[in-house]
């Protein structure tokens, strides 16, 4: 019943907005010229007085804008780089791939992101251009999303990071990236994530941490899509639930099995901290205390296992893997005698 109400509410909201198309539309181009950016001729003089032909490029009316047609207000990247040497910094990056019709280089170069530059060229105060340090995070995101609107980026709108007012340039740098991949503002992905998620990252540095993050073969984005997930919670990149994400690698735990353990089926994080913990197998609390949070049946599950049980009695409910010494199939059993996960 509730589902239907929610669905109806969302549809109603959507319909309300949809009927008012054109009032405040999404930017159809990656950067819109302001009113002051009046059309000028296609040929203009740069600051050095060199005549620059602005070419026949079109505005990036869509991310796939490919068919060049003359467009007023654009001056061409050569004009930009006459003053802005950081234009060279695009070399070698995907933004400079002229052969890729989705790349800014295939459309308006610098002006694909910064907007038509003629008004800027003509302005002694050097305004009238999109300066990413001076616009809101949402405006920055909209500029990038004009092209980065597919694949991993499709879930940005409304994602956890979007809702916290982050934007693309919070993590990425187009002109001065520090990383070798993904044009990040720091050298590694882990460093970027640690800017805000210090505790999760330092958990991976503990003595008991998720394999093999510390060794460099996994990183945050092995499990998370920082641009937002359109299928899962917590920006998880795969599956529709925490458990589905985990079993996408740990397929042996996927089941279904004849006898199932309810928390295993529902959420691995009920018992494990996926980033790392101080306990063997990244358990949220050590055994047998973890199991005793839910199992208080008479006899051994409810026994108070104190120091004497480990040093004097050497109880096999305490040493080694504790409860799992016997209940080894704790993630589910396919054995007809597996009700208690011992077979």
């Amino acid at each position: 019943m509730h589902q239907r109400i929610y669905l109806a509410a969302i549809c109603l909201l959507a319909a309300t907005f949809a009927t008012r198309v054109g009032v405040t539309a999404w930017p159809a181009v990656s950067v819109q010229a302001s009113a002051s950016q009046a059309p000028v001729s296609q040929t203009s003089a740069s600051r050095e007085g060199v005549v620059i032909t602005t070419g026949t490029k079109t505005p990036p009316s869509t991310s796939q804008a490919a068919a060049p047609t003359p467009q007023a207000g654009y001056v061409g990247s050569d004009t930009c780089t006459a003053c802005h040497t950081q234009g060279d910094s695009l070399k070698g990056t995907p933004h400079a791939q002229a052969k890729n019709p989705r790349s800014p280089e295939a459309t308006h170069g610098c002006e694909s992101c910064h907007g038509p530059g003629q008004a800027h060229v003509d302005d002694d105060a050097k305004g009238h251009i999109r300066k990413f340090g001076q616009i809101t995070p949402a405006e920055t995101s909209q500029t990038c999303l004009a092209c980065h609107n597919r694949g991993n980026h499709a879930g940005w709108e409304g994602s956890a990071h979007d809702r916290r007012n982050l934007t693309c340039t919070t993590c990425h740098s187009v002109h001065s990236p520090k990383s070798t991949e993904r044009q990040l503002v720091k050298k590694t992905q882990t460093e970027v994530c640690a800017t805000c998620h210090k505790l999760q990252v330092t958990k991976t540095e503990r003595a008991v941490a998720h394999m093999p993050v510390r060794e460099g073969k996994m990183s945050c984005s092995s499990c998370h899509n920082p641009h937002g997930s359109i299928t899962n919670v917590k920006n998880l990149k795969t599956g529709g639930s925490v458990a589905e994400l985990c079993v996408s690698c740990h397929t042996e735990m996927r089941g279904p099995t004849l006898f199932e353990h309810a928390p295993v089926r529902e959420n691995c994080a009920t018992c494990h901290d996926p980033h790392g913990s101080s306990n063997d197998r990244m358990l949220v609390v050590r055994m047998p205390m973890l199991c005793q949070r839910c199992h208080i049946a008479s006899k051994h599950p409810a026994t108070l296992y104190d120091k004497d049980q480990i040093t004097t009695n050497k109880s096999n409910r305490m040493f080694g893997r504790s409860c799992v010494n016997c209940h080894s199939n704790i993630h589910g059993s396919n054995h007809p005698s597996g009700q208690f996960f011992m077979r």
Binding site: R293, C326, M342
Partner: protein, 728 residues
Amino acid sequence: MRKLSLMVLLMLTGAFVAPQRLLAQTATPAPAAAQPAPASAAAETEPRSLFDVTDREFFIGGRVSSIDGDPARYQRYQDVRDGLLFSNFRYAFAQPDGSAIFKVRANNVGYRDQEYFAEYNRVGKLSITGGYQGIPQFYSVDTMTPYTGSGGTLLLSDSAQRSAQSGAGLNAYLGISPQFDLMERRDIGTVNVVATPTPKLDVTASFTTQRHAGELPWGASFGFSNDVEVPLPYQSRTNDFTVGTEWTNAKNMLRVAYNGSWFDNQAPTLTWDSPLRLDDASGAPGRGQMSLWPSNSAQTVTFSGYTKLARKTQITGTFSYGDWSNNSTLLPFTINSALPTIALPRATAEAEAHVFSTNLNLTSHPAEDWRFGARFRNYTYDNHTPATSITQYVAYDSSVSTTPTGGPDLYAHNRTTFDADATYDKLKPVALTVGYTHNGNGYDARTFKSTGEDVFRVSADAVGTSWATFRVKYEVGSRTGSGLDTTQLTAIGEHPEMRYYDLADRTRNSFTGQVDIVPSDAWTFSASGGVLHDNYPGTVLGLQKSNGVTSAFSADYHMANGLGAGATYNFERYTGLQQSHEGDSSTAQFNDPLRNWTSDSTETVHYFSIFVTPPRIGPNTEVRITYDFSHAAGDNLYTIPVGSPITPPNQLPEVYNQLQQLHIDARHRIKRNLAATFTYLYEPLSIYDYAFDPSVVNGIVQPSSLVMGYVYRPYTANTFTFGLRYLW
């Protein structure tokens, strides 16, 4: 094998190097499309840092380690054995016109943790990437076992079993249990293809295969007095295949994808000898058998899309359907020939589940300073395994018992989430957000039929200024369950006042905050903290409270001359209070509150990290130094009521682990394209856990267990890596 691989690669490298060196010397820079880092004007006057990774380089040298202590833990997921080392091999090539890019990469060639990667990118048209990774999992060099065999059958010496059966006990195995290295490995190969027939269309396909091989520590018990730890043979393969297509224009996206995943356990059954007997008897088997992870498959189709509407409004939606199944052959209830045969309910598991997932997301910016969002999510795990009547089972292959539930519980669940928030960002750069979430969950075969949780939150986020970032968020939530069915507890002997903490009534308060200050180009300061309080007001027995407090502070300093230094300190404390009850359910003890006891666990973590980047020493020498320190300690405090008949507890000792890592990395440029490198890693681990204490697990024979001797041991490792880094 390792040396052979290395030689082959060296020859290949030589073949690459010769022509490319010519290219480099004829003043042809590395192809623009293959250069990762931006060139700057300064780079022309000062040589590039030797710590910048390039797309054309390799390292060749040697590695030597000194490990005092547990070498297996030091190499838990890596291979740092001594020897020649060829690594960090990178080669990239781009067509002069930028139409195609080719990249290859290789690390730790010939070692257990070797990895390879290759990419061919026909820019804007086709991308093919492939890779291989080896991931070792090295458990122990302390382990010993009398078990031999393979393929899921672990055997003991008949004479030793006979000797044990006639009264010698487990000591019969002391002389026949050789040491062995307990390890397992994972090999992962993957190929991804993305074709772009038109600028609006992507067609993707990927294939991943993952192989497990080796042995795991595993419990294989015959009962409380006959607990056995065995090296479980593990051989499996998982193949994943995904194909999909995505069409996008400026306002719309449509995506459809199929994923098939097949897990094949090639050793799905463990059969192992009892160390106490050779012959089967009622109550005492000579051999046991258990089912391991069953082979299974999952097929999922996903439809996704979004559309952009007026008022900067976007609707994004995903629907997926998955079919999960496991139809492995059911093993007999027992292989103990002295016990009566119980008829199987059916020949195969016939386990199946249908998984439905729906996500809808609406965002809108109807006015300049306002943003709204609403999300709807439904996730349904629908269990389609047929009801199975199992009224009797065989416990530990020893005796026939009656099942308390009459067969497996058919767990299923359904989660529905509605979430909405509104953000006001006129107070630039601060954005204020209020939000509400309702989580409605339904369950089959659990204590609560459903739970509902309402969560309210407020947050303030200030980003976009060059000198400060500020974020805070406060959440308050309340979860309540309905449809309590205590027979789900009493049927399996649980106390009716116990509540599973993943369903129990709960109130949650959480706060997180962070401030970053950048007062100048040289300095960056950051402080963050968080508090989490979970209370379970309806829980008498079970988890009652779970709290966490975290804080972090850091400062970084960078000078234009290259000098840099920074330090970070993190503090974490997590506590949990749970109450249990020690009493026989068949007597009045079961309801005697004096037999309640509590366990109050505390985990405290200190983490400290520093880095130092000295200025260049002369024009050609650079050094980097980092140090990380992590200390985690866990305490547990038992309490009993005054007058309790429970024996006063002898409190458990503190457990701890402390990991330090000091890295010193020095590089010296010999020639324009050649550098000598020296890396030193000092890594001491001190660790104590009473469950893996070598003085407790002091041999393979324990009072009622035959184990392998896996323990926690500290280590101090010194690893030196030295060699040449060649760039071309």
